[in-house]
């Protein structure tokens, strides 16, 4: 009944990812006392931070009975396993991270990096938030978003298909229809 070994708690992991970028603002926010308390209040038990090229290093918390354990790493060849075992993902606004997460059907909070010039990434996050596939926040608003997010309002993302593109390419080139 309790999905973990000790303490009898069901472990729910939050995975924070910044991809290959440097996004100290997000890592700092995720490691802040307020956000960690907010996560713990919502029933999450573990926080794993993939910090990328950032210079801010989170503080590890390994006591299993702590309100929220905290661990981190810089890079991994594939974050798929972390995404799969997480209950909540907090990600930078890169399209790769976003769609890898949505295709797994996971709850996603996208945090946009305001220090980036030409922030075209926010267009995608805003559009998907409007369609209720994810939550969208600025780093300063992360705590509030976690506290107030209503998971019932989320609409599952139905993956798209490259087939229309390929069909049009074939048609243009004069290949027979499949």
């Amino acid at each position: 009944m309790d999905g973990a070994g000790n303490g009898g708690r069901i472990r729910k992991m939050v995975f924070v990812t910044v991809g290959t970028t440097c996004f100290d603002a997000l890592v700092k926010a995720a490691d802040s006392r307020q956000v960690k308390e907010a996560l713990s209040k919502r029933g999450y038990t573990d926080l794993m931070i993939q910090m990328g090229r950032g210079s801010y290093v989170p503080s590890k918390v390994s006591e299993e009975d702590a309100p929220l354990t905290v661990d981190y790493f810089a890079f991994s060849p594939s974050i798929a396993d972390y995404l799969k075992s997480a209950s909540l993902i907090i990600s930078h606004a890169g399209s790769g991270s976003i769609f890898e997460t949505l295709q797994l059907g996971k709850t996603l909070i996208v945090v946009v990096n305001e220090e980036l010039m030409d922030n075209h990434q926010s267009e995608l996050a805003e559009e998907l938030a409007e369609r209720k596939h994810l939550f969208y926040a600025r780093p300063q608003m992360l705590q509030q978003t976690i506290e107030t997010m209503d998971l019932e309002t989320l609409v599952p993302y139905v993956p798209g298909s490259p087939k229309p593109v390929v069909d049009l390419i074939n048609k243009f080139l004069g290949f027979p229809a499949d």
Binding site: S95, G160, V165, F172, L173, F175
Partner: protein, 247 residues
């Protein structure tokens, strides 16, 4: 008579005489130069007319396909398209990525390796896929002054690669690397050295504004087909075709 003599002496003779011999000046300017310009303009109009015209006859051969990869989400989207492409029609496949992008070609290799394993032996043998690196036109944050020099180097490299690969199909989705390659392919079309159909798929991350690469290819009419994934873009760019999200 004078004009003919000057040309025989070669380029150097023309330049030396340009200041002194008014008659030769007029000869070059009023005769050779306008003809040259007219040929180029006519050829350009011919190419721009035939670009974007679909192939009306039925096709059965295989086409040499150039696939342009890029950092970030570009490669993921591109490989998703390649996954669905008919492998016997679009072969041999040439993957190009910027020299500083280490991951993209690796990911493409993984895809191609998995295809080799799936392939049955009855198929006709086609050349193996190739994985090529190209000089980058501009690094993120590089000054615009030095960018001019690096872009020219990238363009020269692109011309060389286009000559080597002789692509018939080019598929790209936005990284800076596609501009020198598409420009080079267009130049080849212009001088009649080979015809490649350029398919541009704007990235899924572009919802309201196209990327710089997309804008250039759209405005300069370099792409045969311009695809966008979001309806907002199709409204803004009427010559684009909406293909929906591919992720």
């Amino acid at each position: 008579m004078q004009l003919f003599l000057v040309l025989q002496e070669g380029k150097r003779g023309v330049f030396i005489n340009l200041k002194g011999m008014g008659k030769v000046n007029d000869g070059i300017l009023c005769f050779i130069f306008p003809i040259f310009v007219t040929i180029i303009v006519v050829r350009l109009m011919y190419v721009l007319y035939w670009v974007r015209k679909p192939n009306r006859s039925l096709r059965t051969d295989n086409l040499r396909t150039l696939i342009v990869l890029g950092s970030g989400g570009h490669t993921a989207e591109m490989l998703r398209i390649v996954n669905v492409l008919q492998k016997d029609r679009f072969a041999p496949r040439f993957y190009i990525a910027a020299a500083t992008d280490s991951m993209s070609l690796q990911k493409a290799k993984v895809l191609e390796d998995s295809l080799i394993q799936q392939e049955n032996s009855g198929r006709k043998m086609v050349e193996a896929s190739q994985f090529i690196q190209i000089y980058r036109s501009r690094e993120v944050g590089q000054s615009y002054v030095t960018s001019i020099a690096t872009t020219l180097i990238a363009l020269a490299h692109a011309v060389w690669l286009t000559f080597r690969i002789r692509p018939q199909v080019i598929i790209c989705n936005g990284p800076g690397t596609c501009i020198p390659l598409c420009t080079s392919a267009f130049l080849f079309k212009l001088v009649g050295l080979g015809w490649s159909n350029i398919f541009y798929v704007e990235s899924i991350a572009r919802v309201r504004k196209v990327s710089l690469s997309g804008l250039l290819l759209y405005k300069l009419l370099l792409a045969d087909q311009f695809y966008v994934q979001w309806p907002q873009l199709q409204k803004k760019y009427p010559r684009a075709q909406l293909v929906g999200c591919l992720m």
